[in-house]
Amino acid sequence: MSHFGSARKRRGLTLMQLLVLLALLLFLLGFLLAATARFRNASESVTSRNNLHQIMVGLINFANSPVDKLPPGSATWFPKKGLVANNSYGPCLFHILPFLEQDPLYKSTRKNIDGKPVYASWEAAGKSVKVFMAPGDPTWEQGSDRTSYLANELALPETGARLPNSFPDGISNTILIAEGYSQATDTVTFGGQTTTWKTDRRWWDNSTWKPAAGAVMFQVAPPVDAASSMLPQGFTPDSINVGLADGSVRTVDASCSSTTFYAACTPAGNDVLGNDW
């Protein structure tokens, strides 16, 4: 009987050892949770930069194709004007599909309009393209046809910009694409009436912003209900990622002034970027 009792004593843990172990485990768990959160944020940021990089490569390859121009930012006919055979209608993210290994999706939008075969972006409505959605975008939805990347209408005009001639300010100083929430919310009060408008930014339809000089040029990690439809939005509290006309991706600090950010949005503003760029 006494032999059995001493064996149990050797194998088991004392209550004190158990409690110390439990305390240590819980303390380590705290560090683990914090580290996991940091790792997830970093990983989402890297994914967004990779997506942006792929979009920029698609844009540059498009400009190097026989078309010899960058596609328009907002939805329009391109590369020819108007409804003519084999022309395409859509915004820039639609036009670059064949350069993002999305040729089958692009071809699936072929349609006859008024007897003319054309590619029409709205035929892709409801189709999700992974590279157009950033996991760090708080309005991200699995399988959505929205986008977390916005084209700069000033740098990507309807007529199509040429590289590098359309960018006298410099291709490495001009933003073509910026991160932005896939759903914007504007709340306005006019005439005593408060209204909230939601705008879905869809890659095949409405995926641009038109920079207008002002006190606010971009937002970083705003609350979902305060993401303006007139501005791009970074997904982390300290920066926003942008794609430049030379094909590179840059992380712009949240402290960048609106004057400098606007200068980076204009392709031919004859302006110099500040030290905060």
Partner: protein, 180 residues
């Protein structure tokens, strides 16, 4: 026995408390900064500004809060508390927002025209066109009210604005008198 267990229990609970607090702290860091609610009147040359946008600028872009001014009145919530918070006031964003909606409407109507040519129907598009028309109506009304109003550039530039204030936690009033 009880006297030996008590300090150990205390240590275990303290450690677990620290661990949980640390994890939660990481999550809450972003929103724990003190915030205030600022409301008041904006006047231009002694008269209420009919419409516009007022922006409170904290340290950087993440601490920026922008709201509309309606008949001089505004209410800005979640403004970061602090000294020397710069304030900018503009009317141009109303025109920019109206232009953006007008542009979306023009493109949506073009798509509707093309769909008609293709003998196709798109119910969500019809609904969207109606929504955009409603938005434009509100914005064009606001545009009419600010027609001819041009504020000095400094009021709309964060780096040049003469408007600064101290924002504290809780509700407070701040009136701004602008000069032509």
């Amino acid at each position: 026995m009880t006297s030996r267990i008590a300090p150990l229990l205390f240590f275990a609970f303290l450690a677990s408390g620290l661990a949980i607090a640390r994890a939660e702290g990481e999550k809450e860091k972003k929103t724990s900064d003190p915030r205030g609610e600022v409301s008041g009147i904006v006047r231009l040359a002694g008269r209420e500004l009919p419409a516009g946008m007022i922006t409170f600028h904290g340290r950087d872009a993440k601490d920026t809060v922008r709201v509309t001014v309606d008949d001089g009145k505004y209410v800005a919530r979640n403004v970061p508390a602090g000294k020397n918070i710069r304030v900018t006031i503009e009317v141009e964003p109303i025109n920019a927002l109206a232009e953006s909606v007008r542009d979306q409407l023009r493109r949506s109507e073009e798509r509707a025209r093309l769909l008609k040519l293709a003998k196709a129907d798109d119910e969500p598009l019809t609904k969207r066109i109606k929504e955009l028309k409603d938005r434009l109506k509100v914005l064009e009304e606001a545009q009419k009210r600010v027609k001819g109003i041009k504020l000095p550039e400094a009021y709309g530039t964060k780096e040049k604005t003469p408007l600064k204030m101290t924002v504290e936690s809780g509700k407070q009033t701040a009136n701004f008198e602008l000069k032509d």
